[in-house]
């Protein structure tokens, strides 16, 4: 039962990754692409780690996976902001 739930979560996560990657390749400009990457991939990673944490059967490992997700969330939000701000500044020439 738990294994099935884990598999569903992981597959859902992979779906979000796929959507994010397609967005990265297909969307027209940098801001839209960043949007696709950060939003879709963060949720994808969250679902993936949730699935793996269910699969781990060990509270310590699950906690570590959760920590990894939180760290990636913070890092990707901050770096997406930095990239977008850099591009914006270059556009407006300030």
């Amino acid at each position: 039962m738990i294994d099935v739930l884990a598999a569903v979560l992981i597959l859902l996560g992979l779906g979000f990754y796929l959507a994010g990657s397609i967005g990265l390749l297909r969307l027209p400009d940098l801001y839209a692409r960043l949007h696709a990457l950060t939003k879709a991939d963060n949720l994808g990673l969250g679902l993936l780690t949730a699935g793996l944490a269910l699969h781990a059967q060990d509270l310590f490992t699950s906690a570590k996976l959760l920590l990894i997700w939180l760290a990636v969330l913070a890092a990707s939000a901050a770096s997406a902001h930095l990239i977008a701000r850099h591009a914006r500044r270059r556009e407006t020439g300030t």
Binding site: A71, A74, A75, A77, A78, H81, L82, R85, R90
Partner: protein, 358 residues
Amino acid sequence: MNTITLLVFDGLLLISIVSLAWAALATRDARRSVILFMAFGLVLALAWGRLLAPDVALAEAAIGAGLSGALLLAAVSEQPHAAGVVRPSISQNPGRAGTRTAVRWAITLLCAGLAGILGWALLQGLDSSARDTLAQAVAANLAISGVSNPVTAVLLNFRAYDTLLELAVLLTAVLGIFALGQARPGYQCAGPVFDSLARWLAPVLVLIAGYLLWVGAHAPGGAFQAGATLAAAAIVLRLAGRSHIGLPAGGSLRLVTVAGVAVFLLVGLVLLLLGRPFLGYPPAWAGALILVIETAAMLTIATTLVLAFLGGRPQALWREPGVRRDAPPASDAPGAAAPANESAAPSLAAGTQEQTRC
């Protein structure tokens, strides 16, 4: 997991490594090249993980991808046209195009030859029946090494002499960095988002460094990975525009820079005096001695990496002879921490205050 899946995964890994390496070499834009190189390092770390070498994977991710990437990016942005550095193309200089092509082919042949020799050696190693003797010797003597992680046992006990010399190489590198002159001026203050990231990331990185150092005795980790993580904390602070990035000032900086080699040598010499071989730890003390040496080595490695990122001597470390101490600091941009005992003129104090805003 079944074999086919793993085979597909390994194949994808190999293809990504080779194509990332190719892309990093082929692109004209230096910044893009560096970013591809960092991605290459991360995928390479995955490959080390697949080869059941987590110690190497950690070192590759931390040093190969992270810190080397930071160093290279800093070097790229130092160049005059930082916005889009383009390598000079061959066609711009037809006179030397022939030589360049010849050099390029020579390098290609050399690399192909080297790869061939390495591949041949690998095949020989796989074939030979004696391939496991070293690993077996390590496993047989692990009990008296003082640690239970075979990698740490080799690095800090069985082949400690090699690690001592590696630390000496790092020390030489620091001398070279100091010879480059003053450190680059720091970066401007980060915005609120990056600043708050740096604010919590730096302590977490320090904590991880301590964990890696401690866990190295019985699991993947150790002084090199811990030192790289510690250096990453300082570099994050530096990128966020802080002037105080944890580097000690003045004499303490020199002490930390030589600590790795000094402690290593001291332990070896004391053991010699006690009638044991150089760096031949008594088994009862081995664990403690290795931890002491690794702690010193971690501090030295972290300092060396941070100094490499600064690209020179931190400001306010040594005054140039002939420059009066109370002379106004012309280019006292955020470098290292100003020494606490600096009896400097008010101008420096004001400057320092201005720098520590962020």
